[in-house]
Each structure stands twice: as structure tokens, then as C-alpha cells.
Amino acid sequence: MNSSPILPEKRTPLGKHKPVSRRSMLLGSAGAIGAAWLATGLTGCSAVAAGGVVPLSFWHLLTGGDGIRMSGLVDRANSENPDFKATQTVLTWGAPYYTKLAMASAGGRAPEVAIMHASRVPGYAPGGLLDPWDLDMLAKNDVTEADFPQLVWDKGFSDKKLYSVALDIHPFILIYNKDIAKKAGVLGSDGKLPPMSSPEEFIAVARAMQLATGVHGLSYGYLNDGSQLWRLWYTLYLQHGATMELPPGGTVKMNTDAAISAFDFMRKLLDDKIATSRGDYATAVAEFVAGRSGMFLTGVWELPTVQSACMNVGAMAIPTLFGTPAAYADSHSFVLPHQNDPDKTKRADSYRFVADILKNSFDWAKAGHVPAYLPVTENPAYRSLKPQADYVEITKIVNYDPAAWFSGSGSDFQNIFGQNLQGVLLSGADPAAGIRGFVQQINTLLSKPSPV
């Protein structure tokens, strides 16, 4: 192998100086940037910015209409409390958000406040990933047990400590197009749909809607979306008076007959006449908004989408078709991610930040959600908020996901449900077999020691 000729020390072997000087120029500017970077002290530590404004880091997973509204609430909290400034960081809904939140909390330098689904808290609190709320400090900020529906308040507890404070309850409901309902002859004089207390009555109304639109009567999307499939099915299942339990170290406890009955009803609905049998989330939204169906089985969070299309809509809890009033719901709740060394001022400000948003959550209701803070919903002004006021009572009948470290919104639990049971609606697979597969996978998870 040849090597370069021996040269005296001073010259480089190539004898070129241009690359060196260009390089050193770049390095020099890089050094300048680096110095500036260090000077601004962007080390991510809890340094109080100049002027004494305490920076608060606030994580959430809300985008679209929800995201815009939350931004407004954050801005309002900041303007009403000039001594702190909350900055929001939005991560992708579901596993990406929850994974990062867990890792940040494990690392001990997590954001000051975050939003979690209440149903996901059992997967975080026991593991020490969350710091509990101080009830006294909450009370000082006007947030007490009496200010929340009992069911919702209790959900925030784990091992007798409060880990999450709910901002809202967002159930799965029925939105209907009043104009199409009128055309179908099913709109009552009170501007609402007729009472439906059995599957047949519901299907009859849906059929009437279908005749009126000429396309479909109802829109519902579930394709490749285990969470969507779960939300509707769980509602119908609960309406049978059935429950589901996930005892650690045990096996899934559920009522298989009720489960199959719920699927049978869903199949009757998605018969490609009343509703498409292979709808996904986006097409369902598009279909209802375009007026190609009269009923929409969806979460309350789609209300703004529908309203911004200038539709004349009503909303209600999914009627009790199987005897027991019930609805699937989850809550967006405030949590304190674990910090190894929490700054006292920042903690105190976090309480004030959360309290401020709770008190102003009337704005949040405009996004379709039911505010959890009772002073807001019990305020007479709320009654004028239509159609939200029509389903505010749903908080009495809502149910969260069965508690487990792996369940909750966007969790493996809901994904496994979708993977095993999507075929029942999509290709006519046997629900009993699908449920067996689902139970088997969940049992495997239950048999493992909880890593939390």
C-alpha cells in the first residue's frame, strides 16, 4: 500500500488550505452559536426566567378542535395569572404520548402538569410515575370533592390517594341530524328523537333515516380502530346490566351472552343498508357531515366538527336498548407526573393553573365535552349551551374501562379487542370465537405480574 510522500511538518500532505479555512470558519460560527446557546441557559433545568415568571411545562394529547380550545384555555390561565407561564406540548394521541409520559416520569424530570385519560391512571399511579394531589392545596384553590360527580371524583383515587383530577367526561353518544329526522318523520315536537327502549325501535328509527337520505341511516366507524369498536360495544354490553372485571393474577370475568348479544345488534345495524359494514373513523365523520346519514354514533368530541359544518343537530346518550342505562366514557384528567425534586413554587402554580382551567371549563364544554367541575354545569348559563345541555345528565350513567394496568383509552387492551373482534363486523366472523381469542390474550396479560 502506498502512503503519502514524507513531508515536513508544517504543510499538510494535500498542501491545500482552502478546506481548512472554510472549515474553521464554520467551526468558528458553530462555536459562537454554542456559546449563545449556553448563555441563554437552555439547559432545561427549572431556572426561573428573567422577570420572575415561573415557567410551567404542560403536556397533553389533544389536537384538532380540542387542541385549539385547550390552547385558548391555557392562554386564558396565563393571562389571569401573570406570575407563571404555562407552555403546552402536544404529543401524538395514544401509545406515543403515554410511553413518553411514563419515561419522563421515570426519569424524574417530567413536565409539571399533564393530562391523562382517567382510565390510564391505574397503569401509572401504583408504579410511582405520578405524584399525588394534595387535597388541602386543592381545596385552597376551590377544588373539592363536592365539586365533582361522585363517580368521577372516586375514579381519580388509587390506594386512597388522589392522583387525577378530572377536567371533563367525554362519553360515546348519539348525534342526529334534526333536518333529516324531520324529513324521516321521527322528530318529536320537542325537537328530539322519539324514546327508544329496545333494539327494534332503534333500528326502526335508523331505517326511517335511511329512507330519508337515500344512502345510509347511520354512520359509525371502527375499521382498524380498536378504541372505536370498544366504545360502542362496551356501551351496549353494559346496557345488558353486565360488567367486566380484570382481576390481577386471575382471568377475565365477563358475561359472554351479553357480549354476543351486543355484537348481534351491531351486526344488524351495520348491514350495509342502515350503515356501512366497513366504515372507518374518518369516512363516518365525512358521511354524516355531508348529510348522507341521519344518525352518528360517536364521541362528544366530534360535536364541534359537526357544528362547524353548520348542521342542525341534536345529541343524546345512546338510548337504553337492553334495560340498563349505561354509556362508555372516559375523562381527560390532570395529573402531576413524578418529579425527583419538585420545585415548590412550580408545584403551587400547577395547582393554580389547573384550578383556573377547571373554573373556566365552560369554554371546554363548547368542544362537546361535559365539564367535570360541577360549578360550571350547575350554572344556569350551561342550560343554554345546546345540545350539550341535553346530555349533561349522562354523567350519572357513565362507565370507565375496567381497571387494569394495561387498559384505558388507546391502550393495548383496546387494541387487542379490535384485533380479535373487528372481523365479527367486517367479515361475519363468529363473535364467540373472537371473544375467546380476546379473553385468552387478556388472560395472558393478567397472569403476568404487573410491571407497574
Partner: protein, 313 residues
Amino acid sequence: MSTSTVKGRAVAAVAPIRARAVPVRKRRRDHLTGYAFMAPFLILFALFLVWPVIHGLYLSFTDQSLTGHGGQFIGLANYFEAFADGQMWQSLLNTLWFTVLSTIPLVLVALVMALLVQQGLPAQWLWRLSFFMPFLLASTVVSLIWAWLFNPSLGLVNSFLASLGIPPVAWLQDPNVSMISIVIATVWWTVGFNFLLYLSALQNIPDQQYEAASIDGAGKWRQLLSITIPQLAPTTALILILQVLASLKVFDQVYQMLNQAITPSTRSAVVYIFETGFTGYRFGYSSAISYIFFALIIIVSLVQLRATSRKSL
């Protein structure tokens, strides 16, 4: 060609060092200097490579959790569970399938590019820039651009298909197609590196060989097959080894482009390691899967090294 084959690299590398060894009389005094020079690297090496390798193996025998709980020694339980875990095997299979699907075009396309550019046609800088530029992009940028290209309703790919009368394809949402989509993006992204390797190897084939063959009456294709391709064998071997290893370790594109739509049939091995350890909190179990995967990598590397060293002997 080079005296050091890929296999004999380590051995051959040691040899010239020994040949140029320091004279005997100086040997004693170099211990201190030697360690002084090695120290900075060795400390970092020990802390951030050696220790994690050992500790990771230890973790795989425990039920350590991300939250700090667990940590009990449970013997081989994680390994038994991993071998019985259908998803683990599926992820390994997906990874192998991805490797096969991507390595072939990454070698062939790079070769074709290099052969074309080697001919010395005008605008050399343009070809080099076009083919190599994607290699400089971060995986996130590549995933953003291709996810947009593959957008089912607004993407360039589907609108092009629509102009041909072909219905839209759910490139990243349909599990049957998503692996292919990722392969396409990966080939676009990394072929430039192999292209440059081939190009430099082509330049080093002496002209005399082509001249001699021409005089003997061999046409261009004959020259290609009998001179060029065989002379490129060591480069091809190198590219194959690097490419296979890199493809086995795929994480970025799969996680970024598929994101929520990761299904058992598209999840790669490293993605599964990430999910069990960080989304599922199970550090111990994830470590066991990591080491099974590590064993696979070692086996593949050894097989490749043996295969390429045999070829050049």
C-alpha cells in the same frame, strides 16, 4: 485488490501493527503512556458499552420494570416466555423479511447507478447529488416526506396511480402493503451510500483490463460480466454485510411511518423491544428479547463473514 479480506480484517490489521512494533528496549516504559492514551476512550467504552452489555444480560434474568419496581432474579423465565411469544417470532420474521426485501434493491440499484455514472456522462455533480442527498437526511425527515407521499387521499403516489386509472392504495395503513412502502422509502434514503462505494470501486478497476478485453474482441456486456462484476465482488460483499446488518436493526422508519398503525405483521424486532420495554414497562423481558435478537445478529454476521471469506479464497 486489497490484501485484507473482510474476514481477515481483524487479523490482518493486527499483523502490520506487530510488524511495525516499537523496538524492544522501549517496551517497559510504554505501559503508563499507553494507558494514559487509552484511558479516556476506555472509560467511556467501559461505562457505555461494556457495562450495558453485561448489565443488559443480567436484566434479562430479572423482572425489572421501567418504574423501578421488580428487579427480582427470575432465572430463564423471560427467555421461556420469549420463545413462546408468537409476537416475538413474528417481529423477527418481519425483520428478516424486511432485510431480504430491502437488501436486494439496495445492492442492485446502487450498482446500476454506479455503472451508469461511471461512464463519465456530463453533469456528474447532479447525479451524485441526487442519489446521495437523501442519505444525509434524518430518518424523521424521510418518514415525514414519504408519509406525505403515501397519503391515501392527498399523496403524490396515489394521485399518480389515479391518473393511470388505478384505485388508491392505503400504503401505510394496509398491513399487506406497508412493509413494501417502508422498503421503498428505505431504498430511496440509503442507496446513495452503496452507490458511492460502488462508484469508487469501479474507478479503481484498472483501465488496462478493459483495454485488453476490447483488443480480444469482448463487447461491453461481456466486459461487464467478466471484468466489472467479479472485480466488484469484495465491494458487493462489504455492501451486503453492512446492508444486512443495518436492515436487521431497523427501527426509525417503521416506528415513524407506521406509528399507530403498527400491526403484528409490520412490527420489526427493535420496535418490539422498544414496545415491551418502554410502552409495556417490562425491562427484564425486553432485555431477554434484545439478547435473542443480538444472538441472531451475531449468527448472521458470522455466516456472512464465512461466506465472503470463502468466496475470496
